[in-house]
């Protein structure tokens, strides 16, 4: 990451605890891997419990160090999740754009977080596996990263079942999309979430998600060092934050979707 290495000026740095949630095999770990190592693995070992990674994200005014908790997606691991989203300041709720059930599960997670997590938590809804849709062409043209692998409209799965290519054939050729951008984004609007569609495989929009989250974290809840940021101080801030930032978020989101040229 160019951002993370270019620390020429000592900007104030703070850590943010971020948790990834979502159905199994939607590509949570792959998103993190892309963000942290700018890498992609076809056969990523399933996450047992949770994996922990960190990555810095440099904003104009400050540096955010993400402490990323990447959780296991299988349904039965859900009861472990509270352990990981405890004190999280941000959450990435991931679904698979080719799998409608994963959006339902994502909605459940959003509801859970809104009710149970820290009050001020910033939630981003992320539709992953954009490379399996027709949008991938346009999206991959984006001059975002110099990632080594950008197959045009790649049709291979990331780590999913063999069933999907068949579904692909059923749909318009090359487009396995089953969840429309409109559906997901209007839901995100309703709930006041950040919204992105990404591809961990091609790298589309991955960094943008994390940057948007970093921007959405209210400055006041950031303290250098994690212990302070995570305590009660944060909870008290929950009330004031959303109005201001959701405006910013909405801006982010619309630009993001506009860039992809989605038909919404």
């Amino acid at each position: 990451m160019s951002e993370s290495t270019s620390t020429n000026t000592p900007k104030p740095s703070s850590s943010v605890k971020l948790v990834l949630l979502g159905e199994a095999a939607v590509g949570k770990s792959s998103l993190v891997l892309r963000f942290v190592n700018n890498d992609f693995q076809e056969n990523k070992e399933p996450t047992i419990g949770a994996a922990f990674l960190t990555q810095k994200c440099s904003l104009p005014t400050r540096t955010i160090k993400f402490e990323i908790w990447d959780t296991a997606g299988q349904e039965r691991f859900a009861s472990l999740a509270p352990m990981y989203y405890r004190n999280a300041q941000a959450a990435l709720v991931v679904y698979d754009v080719t799998k409608p059930s994963s959006l339902t599960k994502a909605k459940h997670w959003v509801a859970e977080l809104q009710r149970q997590a820290s009050p001020g938590i910033v939630i981003a809804l992320v539709g992953n596996k954009l490379d399996l849709t027709n949008d991938a062409d346009e999206a991959s043209g984006e001059p975002r990263t110099d990632s080594e692998q950008q197959p045009p409209a790649a049709t291979t799965d990331e780590d999913d079942t063999a069933g999907e290519p068949q579904e692909e054939q059923d749909a318009t050729p090359g487009d396995a999309r089953k969840v429309s951008t409109r559906e997901a984004s209007s839901y995100a609007d309703e709930e006041g979430l950040l919204f992105f569609e990404t591809s961990a495989k091609t790298g589309v929009n991955v960094v943008e998600v994390f940057t948007a989250i970093a921007n959405a974290i209210p400055e006041s809840s950031l303290k250098s060092g994690r212990g302070a940021g995570a305590g009660t101080g944060q909870t008290t801030l929950g009330g004031g934050r959303p109005t201001e930032d959701s405006r910013v978020n909405l801006g982010d989101r619309t630009t993001a979707t506009a860039k992809e040229g989605c038909a919404c």
Binding site: E45, I48, E67, M83, N87, A111, D159, R226
Partner: protein, 1138 residues
């Protein structure tokens, strides 16, 4: 599907009672804790129970390999005894076990004698010197004629003798046991042994199969054949010792000193027996601690974990399961597929189709045998690791032992075992390393986020593989405490560094770097070369097992017990939260409190039913005691705790019986009238015989029996989406949301109509109308006698008060309403003939006629006719108004003749608008649907009681004023009703008149009805169709019953319920249909019981066949399998040559 249910039934919950001693479990006479301690100690299958035990001394011969003398002088060998061990000899159904551990599992033994452990395994594995021999391994038992007071047995085993040929130098394994005890005790033990030997003889074939898969067998015979240089033309293929044979074993074999380990093991096995016939001496434990050699690793894991004994019990289960379910799909399989490509991908074997195929098959087969667990991520990693060292079959059984015993609840759908052990681990850290613990707490580092994967995947993806396998070596022998010891040791060794960490990130990276350097020297700068040679891993093992030797199975059990409730509560509240939130849009109509109540009640009922089922099963087992063994060798122990939500997948669907209980807890009308009498379970009783009765008396001692009415069946069918599955929580919530949602009388009326619209074509026929009226009476039969339940809904108070004023009971009034309901339904019904005369006219004339009739006769009489028509078999009340009798009789025929609606040859139906109109035309019925019906479902009790009260009282104040427009609680509802009725009510002079007449004639009419029912009752009794009358509730009624102190309402109630039953009888076809439905519903459990029985019978049969075959073959063999009683030196000689 059937098989599923039997599996599910077998696997009713996940806890090993030894780990969680629960008061509920001690209710049985089987003393489960001792039996399971016994099984744990020797790693025996769950079918085994401690039958006999006796103090004994094991005398091993001097190893024959060390004495070059040949086979001729066995006795001499025996005399020149080698090692002697004093200990205890135990006998179970299929095993004889010896251990130097002086523990006792006899029923008379004290608790401490059964649980006092010392030594490495602390009772969780085959500790101590001795053996665990399947009885089928014993070839011959001789009683030695030695010194008079010593009772010695010489055991000869099949060790090494099951191969095709034995070399000339073959020496059978033979050792002596001296029993120490009274002569009587010794004889008793021998009798038990003889019996066991006889029964286990037939298993020798299984033994042969199982043993052939053991690498040791090949190793020892292979060495021999090499010496003789190919006497056998065919070179025996080595048995499958895992993927490692194809893709190499992980690690550098030379560095692991695999070859010398192999030599040591070869020697040990030759001297002490192999696989099933192995005798444990101190070297055994030492050899395991230094790490197993690659090719024997799988076999020793199998042996020390006890999975070998499961395999021995049903060697073909794995392949059978695979073929049985081949081609089937399941959620677990989908989940497995997702992970196949990502299980130990760094190992070459799992980049190939071969390895992935094996992994797929083992995981799939297990998911079928244990549907409750199915598949959990992390199992893929564990199984992948196992498959490197063992065959698919071996891995399959070992996985089963892991899930059921070694890692109880780890992989369950709630993973409560994992969470629990994390709590236990945290508390152990706090206790043993308080400084570190304080630091972690202060830095807000949650230990379990790091340690959870250690436990869940047995360190396999935390440490480099070679070291993880070393941990596994010990883990399989000594049990789960090893995971804790190693975990604690990791923290202890890194304690200094960990005290410097500030957050999760640094915590994790410290440990990561530690794991990556496990092969380095622990003391790189030491002067002492010996110290320098000690690797970090060796250090870890030493710290784990020396420094934390205090961590025993016992202490872990205690800790688990301590934290269990909190963990389960956490999970359950999480589950409740999640599932309530996910109930979908319909659920929003209900308050959070209501949903909470539904959730709790739903699972409470399921839980109770499960408990009941378990009692039934136990009773069944007791009755089949002769067949002591469980049918399935896999699956969790029988005596486990049952179905808390937190424990894993408790059943998620209610059958009809459970639904009745649910309703009974929700609505008063669903409570049965007499305990037992209304419970219709002919099918069940037929099938399950006395168990059923047993269960009933056991389970229902303190709960009111739910009623069983056709209405409830209809509700059940209406609510369910998949009738064969029963009702899910979602179904119940949706169903209740429809009724309890925003108050809407039209909705309720429509709903009720729908319930009876059997064909879904918007019509209800004659039969349906009658059933509707039955249902109305059924529903109201308790609703109006508020005295029965202490918590009176306000409306009843109101009505009650009013009736005292009016000298008219609600019941009577309501009865009148129902009666007129029937009449009107028939009045306004449309004839069902498709191409009949022009309908409206017909209808008009009908109405006209009827109205005329109504004018002509007393209205009450007409009503009675209707009631009588349906109520022919009704069972009812003592008559109290005789004077009306004659009148009625007189009018009966006339009215019957006059009313074409009563003519059964004249099919007719009503439509929803008609139904609506009829309901709305009656004050009471309207109220019934507006308030009573929805409110009769009680959820969270605090739900707007005041609103109820006011709306009702406003209704009631105007009740008597029958001619004014009906009041409504809300303007909106009122408007709807007005609009609806305005549009539908036909030229209604007749209707109003009818209404007035009925009301004015209320008392008389009700009395008439009662009398009619009474008559019918008498007739019924004459026909011997009725059930004993029940007067339970009489007292309650007398308080306000205006009529002369008889128990009218209660008897009506009774009458109605049997009336319903009678109605079934009247229509055999209908009835039979319903019975089959009920079969489906109620039968779910019955079927599974039977399934189980069947399969066990099959098992038995197989066994018998097997034994028969064995028997005949052995008879052919002549001397084999004979059973001598020699007064001389052979007490019992069981032998057969093959």
């Amino acid at each position: 599907m059937m098989q599923w249910s039997s599996f599910v039934q077998k696997a009713q919950s996940l806890i090993d009672p030894a780990n969680f001693t629960l008061p509920t479990l001690t209710a049985t006479d089987r003393n489960p804790s001792k039996a399971s301690l016994f099984r744990q100690q020797f790693r025996l299958p769950d079918s085994q129970n401690p039958l006999q035990e006796i103090t004994a001394e094991l005398i091993l011969p001097i190893p024959h390999t060390s004495s070059s003398t040949s086979s001729g002088d066995q006795p001499r060998n025996l005399d020149r005894a080698g090692n002697r061990y004093a200990g205890r000899l135990h006998l179970s159904e299929r095993f004889i076990c010896f251990t130097t551990q002086p523990t006792s599992f006899a029923p008379s033994a004290t608790h401490s004698a059964s649980t006092h452990w010392a030594g490495q395994t602390n009772g969780t594995g085959p500790f101590g010197n001795g053996f665990t021999l399947p009885l089928c391994c014993i070839r011959r038992v001789e009683r030695l004629n030695s010194l008079s007071h010593v009772f010695s047995l010489a055991l000869t085993t099949w060790n090494g003798a099951l191969g095709k040929q034995q070399g000339p130098g073959f020496v059978p394994q033979r050792f002596t046991i001296q029993l120490v005890g009274s002569r009587q005790a010794c004889e008793r033990f021998c009798d038990g042994l003889k019996k066991g030997l006889r029964e286990c003889m037939k298993e020798i074939e299984s033994l042969r199969v199982v043993v052939n898969d053991c690498y040791s067998e090949y190793l020892l015979s292979g060495a021999k054949s090499k010496a003789q240089d190919g006497d056998n033309a065919e070179v025996r293929q080595p048995p499958d010792a895992g993927l490692g044979m194809i893709f190499r074993y992980p690690g550098d074999a030379r560095k692991l000193r695999d070859r010398s380990k192999m030599r040591l093991w070869g020697e040990y096995l030759r001297e002490n027996g192999r696989n099933a016939t192995l005798i444990r001496q101190p070297t055994f434990h030492k050899l395991i601690r230094v790490g197993l050699p690659n090719r024997l690793r799988g076999e020793i894991w199998e042996l020390s974990s006890g999975s070998l004994y499961l395999r021995l019990r049903s060697p073909n289960l794995y392949t059978e399961t695979l073929s049985k379910f081949s081609g089937r799909e399941s959620l677990a399989i989908d989940e497995i597929e997702k992970d196949l490509n990502r299980s130990l991908p760094e190992y070459a074997g799992f980049q190939s189709e071969e390895g992935i195929g094996r992994l797929r098959r083992v995981l799939t087969a297990y998911s079928w045998t244990n549907a409750e667990i199915g598949y959990c991520q992390a199992m893929n990693i564990v199984v992948a690791a196992l498959l490197i060292y063992m065959s698919e079959t071996q891995a399959f059984f070992l996985l089963s032992v892991l899930c059921d015993r070694l890692l109880p609840g780890y992989y369950s759908t709630t993973m409560y075992g994992t969470l629990l052990d994390q709590k236990v681990f945290e508390s152990l850290v706090e206790k043993t390393m308080p400084v570190l613990w304080d630091h972690l707490t202060k830095s807000d580092v949650q230990l379990s986020v790091v340690s959870l994967p250690w436990f869940l995947s047995l360190y396999i993806n935390s440490m480099p593989l070679v070291f993880a396998f070393r941990v596994l070596d010990v883990f399989f022998l000594e049990g789960p405490k090893v995971l804790f010891q190693v975990g604690l040791a990791i923290l202890r060794i890194n304690g200094e560094e960990l005290l410097d960490i500030q957050d999760d990130g640094s915590f994790i990276s410290v440990l990561k770097s530690y794991f990556s350097r496990l092969d380095e020297s622990a003391h790189p700068r030491s002067e002492n070369p010996k110290l320098r040679a000690i690797t970090r891993f060796q250090e870890l093992m030493v710290v784990a097992f020396k420094e934390f030797s205090g961590i025993t199975h016992q202490s872990i059990t205690e800790q688990r017990e301590k934290h269990k409730d909190a963990v389960l509560e956490n999970i359950e509240s999480f589950a409740k939260r999640t599932s309530i939130r996910n109930l979908g849009p319909d659920s929003k109509k209900l308050s959070m409190d209501d949903l909470g109540v539904i959730y709790d009640r739903f699972y409470e009922v399921l839980y109770e039913h499960q408990q009941r089922q378990r009692l039934l099963d136990e009773e069944k087992k007791r009755q089949q005691r002769k067949r002591a063994e469980r049918t399935s060798i896999l699956g969790p122990p029988v005596d486990r705790e049952v179905g808390r939500v937190g424990l894993g997948p408790s059943p998620s669907h209610m059958d009809y019986d459970a639904f009745r209980d649910f309703l009974a807890a929700t609505a008063k009308w669903a409570v049965g009238d007499t305990p037992g009498s209304s419970r219709k379970e002919p099918n069940v009783e037929q099938n399950a015989g006395s168990f059923r009765g047993f269960g009933k008396s056991l389970a229902w001692n303190n709960k009111s029996e739910p009623a069983d009415h056709e209405f409830m069946q209809r509700l059940f069918q209406k609510w369910s989406t998949e009738l064969s599955e029963g009702l899910s929580l979602q179904n119940v919530v949706n169903g209740l949301a429809r009724l309890k949602g925003p108050r809407d009388i039209m909705n309720n009326i429509n709903y009720f109509f729908d319930l009876y619209d059997d064909n879904g074509n918007g019509t209800v026929d004659r039969e349906g109308i009658l059933r509707m009226s039955e249902a109305l009476l059924f529903l109201s039969r308790r609703g109006f006698d508020g005295a029965i339940t202490p918590s009176e809904p306000p409306e009843e108070v109101g009505e009650h008060d009013r009736f005292e004023q009016d000298k008219l009971s609600t019941d009577e009034r309501f009865l009148g309403s129902v009666s007129s309901f029937i009449r009107r339904c028939f009045e306004y019904a449309d004839p069902s003939k498709p191409e009949g005369k022009p309908m409206p006219e017909q209808n008009d004339t009908d109405t006209e006629e009827t109205t005329e009739k109504l004018d002509a006769f007393a209205i009450g009489d007409d009503d009675e006719e209707d009631l009588i028509d349906i109520g022919d078999e009704a069972k009812p009340a003592p008559s109290n108004l005789k004077k009306q009798d004659t009148v009625t009789q007189h009018n009966r025929d006339a009215s019957e003749a006059a009313n074409p609606a009563l003519d059964p040859n004249n099919p007719l139906h009503i439509t929803l608008p008609t139904f609506r109109m009829v309901i709305l035309a009656d004050e009471l019925l309207e109220q019934f649907f507006d308030t009573f019906f929805p409110q009769s479902f009680h959820l969270s009790d605090q739900s707007h009681p005041t609103a109820k009260l006011t709306s009702l009282s406003s209704n009631l104040t105007t009740f008597s004023n029958i001619n004014t427009p009906k009041p409504h609680a809300t303007a909106a509802a009122g408007a709807t009703v007005a609009g609806a009725s305005g549009g539908i009510v036909p030229p209604g002079k007749g209707l109003r008149g009818v209404l007035d007449n009925i009301v004015s004639d209320g008392i008389r009419m009700a009395a008439e009805v009662k009398k009619r029912m009474d008559e019918a009752q008498r007739e019924l009794e004459r026909n011997a169709l009725s059930r004993p009358q029940d007067d339970d509730e009489d007292d309650d009624d007398e308080d306000y019953d205006p009529r002369s102190g008889t128990s009218a309402p209660a008897t009506i109630v009774g009458g109605i319920s049997s009336w319903g039953a009678g109605a079934y009888g009247a229509d055999p076809e209908r009835r039979s249909v319903r019975d089959t439905d009920r079969d489906l519903l109620e039968g779910a459990e019955v079927v599974s019981i039977h399934k189980k029985e069947d399969s066990s019978l099959l098992d038995d049969k197989e066994e018998h066949q097997h034994s028969a075959v064995e028997g005949s073959s052995s008879q052919q063999q002549g001397q084999s399998s004979s059973h001598h009683h020699n007064d001389g030196n052979v007490v019992s000689k069981v032998e057969f040559e093959l």
